[in-house]
Amino acid sequence: MSRKIRKAAVIGSGIMGGGIAALLAGAGVNVLLLDIVPFDLKDEEKNDPAARNRIVKTGLDAALASSPSLFMTKKDASLIEIGNLDDDFEKLGECDWICEVVVENLKIKQDLFKKVEAIRKPGAIVTSNTSGIPLKDICQELGDDFRQHFMGTHFFNPVRYMHLLELIPGAETLPEVLDFMAAFGEKQLGKGIVWAKDTPNFVGNRIGIQGIGAVMNAMLEDGLTIPEVDALFGPALGRPKTAIFKTSDLVGLDTMCHVAKNSYDLCPDDEQRGAFVVPDFVNKMVEQKLLGNKTRGGFYKTDLTPEWKKIRKVINPTTLEYEELNRPTFPCLDEAKKKATLPEKIKCVLTGDDKGAKFAWKMAANSFQYAAHRVPEISDTIIEIDNAMKWGYNFEMGPFELWDTYGVPEAVERMKTEGLEVPENVMAMLNAGHTSFYKLENGINYFYDFASQSYKTVPAGEDMVSLGAARGNNKVVLSNSSASLIDIEDGVFCIEFHTKMNAINAEIVDSIDEALTYVDKNGIGLVIGNQAGGMPGAFSAGADLAMISKMAHEKKYTEIDEFLQRAQGGIQRAKYSPFPVVAAPYGMTLGGGCETCLGADRIVAHAELYMGLVEIGVGLLPAGGGCLNIWKRFIDAMPAGVAKDTDLAKLFIPAFMNVAMAKVSMSAAQARSNGFLSATDRIVFNRDNQVGEAKKEVLRMVDNAYAPPAKKPVRVMGNAAQGMINAEIYNMLNGKFMSEHDAFLAKRIAFVMSGGDVNKNSEVPEETILKLEREAFIDFTREEKTIARIDHMLKTGKPLRN
């Protein structure tokens, strides 16, 4: 099949349409973004193209100005052509995929698609991003060919960051079209696909809004407060910190109520229909335009005192007055805090006997019931429901996974005792002797399929490598409490960090060395990657700062030097080992985590990459080869022989600024323009595929007769750089843009990155810069202000400017 998306159209430039256009552009797709001509044009504007495109232009500008940005890089906007539905409608005839994201109004959508049908090119796919209107109503008047190429593609807001893409087949959609869109969404756009049926609000919002509505109503019945509910339904239960009410503030109360009303109106037979009636006080809030973050006040509100201090407030449901927010807690939450893993925390909260714990259990049982009753109504399997909640609502676990964590038999027993109804399909599963919804056997993940009443394999793409599954299949060849080396087949191994935030400690440094020895003996290549959770998650947040702090306080400078030597040695060894080493960074890849990647032979990055050498924030500098390798990425980008006579300042300044300003990329595309990723490094959109793609990269490099890079001296800018930086830093210091300590650190960093006391454009051995890195690092740890920065970061998680 030669189906391709040469050009895609997005009709509707609101926050969703703009987000979809930005995502497509980020994936390299040409986009036509259309919206209506403003109704209120003045006579003199009627022939002015700029005025006629005002709405779409405003939409695109809003997407460009959004924060966090919907665009991976603003340059992507050049792939987006804007137009209006009157003057540019026929351009839709050039598009291979037309995605409708207009206002949620059946008549408007029907009329639009009638016109689209007349102009679409043969075979073009047409989809609707409607979040609630049944597709069958939208396309009932349209022809066979149109209906065969028509389906739902439901993205979640913000499009770039939410992993979920619900695909809703129409009754007549061709299988080829469905397969194509699933593959395109999964691979090109990096989304997690959930197959949904054409039922109101599909999967994520049907389950999600029921959960929110049920909790809100029960809160009032059981006499809990808003902060109490949010404390319970946050991270302790594997849910985002925004829990119930802050999530509603984020989404907007009006939107939430609209979705709830849609479920209520269109699902008359839903056994939990009552949950779709939001409490009265919420309706009153909507009437008073207390809609959440967009109106700067919803369930929560932040006020400023005259001294610019923030006061967080929360609404009182009875009085609708804002009251000062106190952070409540329950014994079960205090207990959960002490537990290391999420399943332990969940058990703490759900099995506790305080008021909060009982409430949490009651709502969990309610969500278990509701989810079980939805199969096969809204989706064929439990996987779709769990994935929708994980990817669309940022839950760590969907309802069935949560149920497994509690223990299905135990939960059912408790439900029976408390007189709660147990769904028939779950009862049947237990009666057949199956006690969990999921199981891992021999490295294969299975789920329980209600329809066939048996376990089936969890579908996974061919490119996917699951480290968790491999671990369950006894594929761990080396392991300690900080890192594991996992056999991911075909001679390729993956070293996985598993410390908190995957911080790099001495054990990881040793593990890398051992892994290199092991792979040299037993394999053909190494991937440095992990699949820790979180959004965006952390490949590695840097070196273990507590360890550095301890050594600095105890003035163990020899030990620091030894640690750095080992870290540098590992990174250098990876680079020059006779097999390819591919790093697979995603999310936060900072400090030592970044250095680990910069030293690798190749990087296969996830599109959401927040990469930077941020050491100066804690008064240090990259001393795991980071100064050396970020500079090499700049100088090595030049053709051979050119560097000798080049004004290296043009390269030195941006490379130096990366370190001295602790620049962090906001996407992999930006990491590339910042110089952290080179031309041969790859960007993968789907994080689920990342380790698999990194493995493929290793195999490709081996297949291409891999030879390690030749070790050669590095061309540096020498003292010419130091003079330039001295002068510039003097200006920054006098302009009060940096502190004395910043200036001290930055000058020394310039000294290291330019090769030390050496003439301009000299060539120096790599070891020279590595030694300068270590010396500077140790000198920095002697500084009181550096120690203060480190301790402040450890204590507060925020940098200290001193």
């Binding site: 004004d647 300042a649 330039m724 002068a727 302009g735 009060k736 000058k747």
Partner: protein, 392 residues
């Protein structure tokens, strides 16, 4: 000493760096055009009468390198016999060039010379293409390489020049310039050919020539409007893009001839350079330069400040210009200072500025029917320069 008469003094418009009308026109063309125009506008003078060209340029490298004083005179069509040199005293380069050219005639070493100035801040940025402060000296004496904006902040802070006063001064400069432009009072400007590269229907590019007649950086603004701009050089500072000089492209030329040559060729003297002085000061407050240079040149010439009819005091920054004006006791003489606006409105093309302000000063002396005029400016690295011209 012999008399050395100025027989011509003209300039190109000043156009904004990178965004202005000269952004694609190379400095050699700006300079060679104004040199040629100066000769053509002087009745009785032919290019071969000129013996030497002194050209001021603050960053004589790149497009302005390789001795632009010589290259431009060849590009102007002057014969091989006309020699040329590039002179650098940063922002006083153009004035220095005119002083040197005059001195040559006064000494009797030359009969007819040209003092000129050029700077395309578009083509060669301030600081140069390859800034290389000395690694060790910059570590101990970084103030020698200080950014000009910081020096302006230092002047404002040390001598209490308020943000409000700076913005008022800047607004007044813009207003004077706008009025003068509207009334056609910039008689020293010669409409100057420029070019840009324009895409053609077939996708190739072609050089497109056009004429520029006016300074393109004039923006009328209120002190309140300027008050909204953010400080650029220092956090919580007072120096903004609105109360600093504009970075500009331009060129200017002045022709000096001996009395004998004037008589021989029938050249009409319009003015003469009476005296020129330069002084050194602290580099981290270089903006104070005119406050010392002006008294020095007055003393050299034996002229009182009250006798001066026109001041062209370069507005590198409102803070330093205001400081100098106040210290010189000229606060009440604003009707004599920068009467058609200064560099805040008209631009400060570094090495060209001295030559540019000379042309403006002579035109303004004529306009007010005055006798003595002063051109003065502060200079990076910590200096000031001033020259007194007498209209004939």
């Amino acid at each position: 000493m012999r008399e050395a008469y100025i027989v011509q003094s003209v300039r190109t418009p000043g156009c904004k760096q990178k965004r202005g009308q000269f952004k694609e026109t190379r400095p050699e063309e700006l300079l060679s055009f104004i040199m040629k125009a100066a000769v053509e506008r002087t009745d009785g003078l032919k290019p071969e009468n000129i013996e030497d060209v002194m050209c001021g340029c603050a960053f004589p490298e790149g497009e302005q390198g390789l001795n632009i004083g010589r290259i431009a005179s060849k590009m102007a069509g002057f014969p091989d016999s006309v020699s040329g040199a590039t002179v650098n005293r940063f922002c006083a380069s153009g004035l220095e060039a005119i002083a040197l050219a005059s001195a040559r005639v006064q000494m009797g070493w030359s009969e007819i010379t040209m003092g000129a100035g050029v700077e395309s801040m578009t083509f060669v940025p301030m600081g140069g293409n390859v800034p290389r402060p000395h690694p060790e000296y910059s570590a101990t004496n970084p103030e020698m390489y200080i950014s000009m904006g910081i020096t302006a902040e230092n002047v404002a802070n040390r001598y209490n020049i308020s943000r409000e006063d700076q913005d008022k001064f800047a607004s007044a400069s813009q207003a004077k310039a706008a009025k003068a432009a509207k009334e056609g009072l910039f008689t020293e400007i010669v409409p100057t050919p420029a070019y840009k590269y324009v895409i053609q229907p077939d996708g190739t590019y072609k050089k497109d020539e056009f004429i520029v007649s006016l300074d393109d950086g004039i923006r009328e603004s209120t002190p309140e409007g300027l008050g909204k701009l953010r400080a650029v050089f220092a956090a919580n500072g007072s120096v903004t893009a609105g109360n600093s000089s504009q970075t500009t492209d331009g060129a200017a030329a002045t022709i000096i001839a001996s009395k004998a040559k004037c008589d021989e060729l029938g050249l009409k003297p319009i003015a003469k350079l009476v005296a020129y002085a330069s002084v050194g000061c602290k580099s981290d407050e270089m903006g104070v330069g005119p406050r010392y240079a002006i008294p020095k040149v007055l003393e050299v010439a034996g002229i009182k400040i009250e006798d001066i009819d026109i001041f062209e005091i370069n507005e590198a920054f409102a803070s330093q210009a205001l400081y100098c004006i106040r210290e010189l006791g000229l606060g009440e003489s604003m009707d004599k200072i920068n009467i058609h606006g200064g560099a805040i409105a008209l631009g400060h093309p570094l090495g060209c500025t001295g030559a540019k302000l000379t042309a403006t000063c002579l035109a303004n002396l004529k306009e007010v029917n005055g006798k003595y005029g002063i051109v003065s400016m502060c200079i990076g690295g910590g200096m000031g320069a001033a020259a007194i011209f007498e209209r004939l």
